[in-house]
Symmetry: C2
Subunit: 456 residues, 2 copies
Amino acid sequence: MADVDVDYCVVGAGFAGLTAALRLTQSGHSVALLEARDRLGGRTFTEVRDDGSWIDRGGAWIGPGQDRIYALMDEFGVPSYKQYTDGEAMMVVGGKQYRYEGTIPLTMSPWAAANLGAVFLELGSMCKTIPLDAPWQAKKAADWDKISLAKWLDDNVLSTPAHELLETAIAGCYTSAASEVSMLFVLYQMASGGGPSFVLGVKDAAEDARPVGGMGAVYRPMAAEIGDSVYLSQPVRRIDQDAGGVSIRSENMSVRARRVIVAVPLAIASQIRYEPMLPVDRSFLHQRMPSGAIFKIAAVYDEPFWRADGLSGQSAAPGSAATITIDAGTNAATPGVMCVIVEGPIARDLGRLGEAERRRSVLGELAARFGHRAASPVDYVEQNWSAERYSGGAMLSHAPTGVLTEFGHALREPCGRIHWAGTESSPVMCGWVDGAVRSGERAAREVTEHDGLFPA
Amino acid sequence: MADVDVDYCVVGAGFAGLTAALRLTQSGHSVALLEARDRLGGRTFTEVRDDGSWIDRGGAWIGPGQDRIYALMDEFGVPSYKQYTDGEAMMVVGGKQYRYEGTIPLTMSPWAAANLGAVFLELGSMCKTIPLDAPWQAKKAADWDKISLAKWLDDNVLSTPAHELLETAIAGCYTSAASEVSMLFVLYQMASGGGPSFVLGVKDAAEDARPVGGMGAVYRPMAAEIGDSVYLSQPVRRIDQDAGGVSIRSENMSVRARRVIVAVPLAIASQIRYEPMLPVDRSFLHQRMPSGAIFKIAAVYDEPFWRADGLSGQSAAPGSAATITIDAGTNAATPGVMCVIVEGPIARDLGRLGEAERRRSVLGELAARFGHRAASPVDYVEQNWSAERYSGGAMLSHAPTGVLTEFGHALREPCGRIHWAGTESSPVMCGWVDGAVRSGERAAREVTEHDGLFPA
């Protein structure tokens, strides 16, 4: 068993943990960063193909207001490129395809479109009442935390197509059924990104741009700067605190540190054994913020042929095996990459199929939408986040009803020598890579301030 | 590391696991029963005092319809005795005490009492629509699973005192805030006990009687019959399945068996590492059925002096440090035992106090209700279930909104060679000791039937 003695230990090498370890290293502290998997990136995961193109199997997009991930990209000289949005999007309802431009499918009836617009406005004003540092203090927090998103949609979105579209889009953010997610949590998470237009939009919104080279182009140089202090394949099993410090044990490694930053999803944090036990509200929070299900699939073609057909590649088909598609290529002529995203209950259904059958279903949907060429990709990369033992699902842990009100205060509160990072702990851009980066920087400040050691 | 080779392994020596191991032993199979704690009983825990009286620090009561725990008591010659219910109960509202007889505080205004009565009737008819084997198939299941108990109470209980009383009583069953629990789960759990009158009642209901000697008088002889196959202090860390069987590993023991029955609360089951990973719906269920907070406190006196004052010992004071009290003695003249139950958010508040301060608060409440003698018990036994590492809280794991609908089917479905027991998996008397016994008997049948080996 390797023994390491450092100033600070960080658990989890997703963006939160990498950022925390990086900032601590840069301010002259010794660090050990333990990652359970044999790879970096956590809920981001970039695969580089032989031709130099890349596939982001997890978190991929960045947008305006996400200053901390942009700063990190600047630091490592990683440029961004804009998401391809030219041409028409497509909405599939009842097997029928509607092509449209803009955010709201103009093929909707005026009544449905008006309903959708009104709901957007309403969500926007509800978001404005949420104090990001303490969403449970919003004036109507108690009411919103008693109902699920599904109930709110039932009561407020009377047009069926508008309801279907919004349910797919909003519940999709939590990769769960709309009945599972607290309305207060939805509003909080939306507000943390600036409102519904940011969360549900693409251009100038949550899917505005991407790092050139994918997220891996950012996390790889971060890890390189941290250097030998990154330890892969080290799932942490125990964290013991005592008066002098903290001991962190994985299967075959033991780290002694002054403080530890735990930067893993909440359901994963619940699998670590803490001695002494965590305060009740924190351990209860670990039991109460589950992850969801998502398949992210990349179908790679010689070229993005749909662009020539005047299609952006964006499509939404609620309930289908290719619920959401989006062009995941660059402006290069080759390859064309179509990204398929399937979330929540449908992702779980898809997971019950055999691999071949699932591929057939997905490609069948793509062919119906984008033509027969879509049926024969040169490459097909499937990422099932539910099967990632050390994510426990994906993408963002959500809060069911009552949880923010009762336990939200524990999201960031240190427990003795244990500090918490992860995008779920960020009041700004909660749920995005940018939120993860912010949480890592906050946690790095926190541990040094607690020790009275300010970065040089 | 001790190696044991048996027909079946059982994880968890609460009533579910003990029953499963007992039935398997009785039908001639070899068994290993692994318990994480250094004691038997799980969420029941009987302490025998020097004078021969006993304190049930956990689950304690039995009632009509709970045939399987009664059968087990018959088997081991354990008689029952009736809960003391003579005299008046007390309700404390706004610091004022009201004494009353029967279930509904007659001191309530006629309007409040009528509202309470109507809500009881309504809950009763809602319960009747729930198919116990598949509550998510109830006609209105989808609607009820979109809202919390808190929302339903807000919409249906307009009288403030009736609301307060019902919220304390119903949410108390789940040792959680009313906002945390799905209304569908509430109805299912109530229905599994026969309806609201059973759940919320005492006499001829959920707190009708107790085993003489407490629950320990039942679980100790069960363990004795299982004999050397019970292994205490063996927290299970890993379960590996392969084509030939299953390997179960604790810190210092390894068991090889044909099948394993896991009989621990869901949040605890999530801390075991499964190889291969569990099916998504089961591992997601583990992330989604949290335990709650409860203090169960016994104040022991030379005699049950409140009885002479015409009081039953039953009292309810929503929001107070002694939210619920109930006489926990027998008909013996000595000692008198007053049981204090504090659940959910108030239990968590109480947990933040120091031990001395907590005791002072609780005894202060008792003195205000039952007179100055209550302030000076001869013994004071406090059980904080939130601090029980291997319960993960108490008493019953509950389902937040959306969970039964999406994941309920996974509550009992075996996962290869892994079978599930625990009161949460019982469609009858879910949440009671009787449900645990039923689940253990069902799981024992299940493993042998799966192996084609029927008990002799």
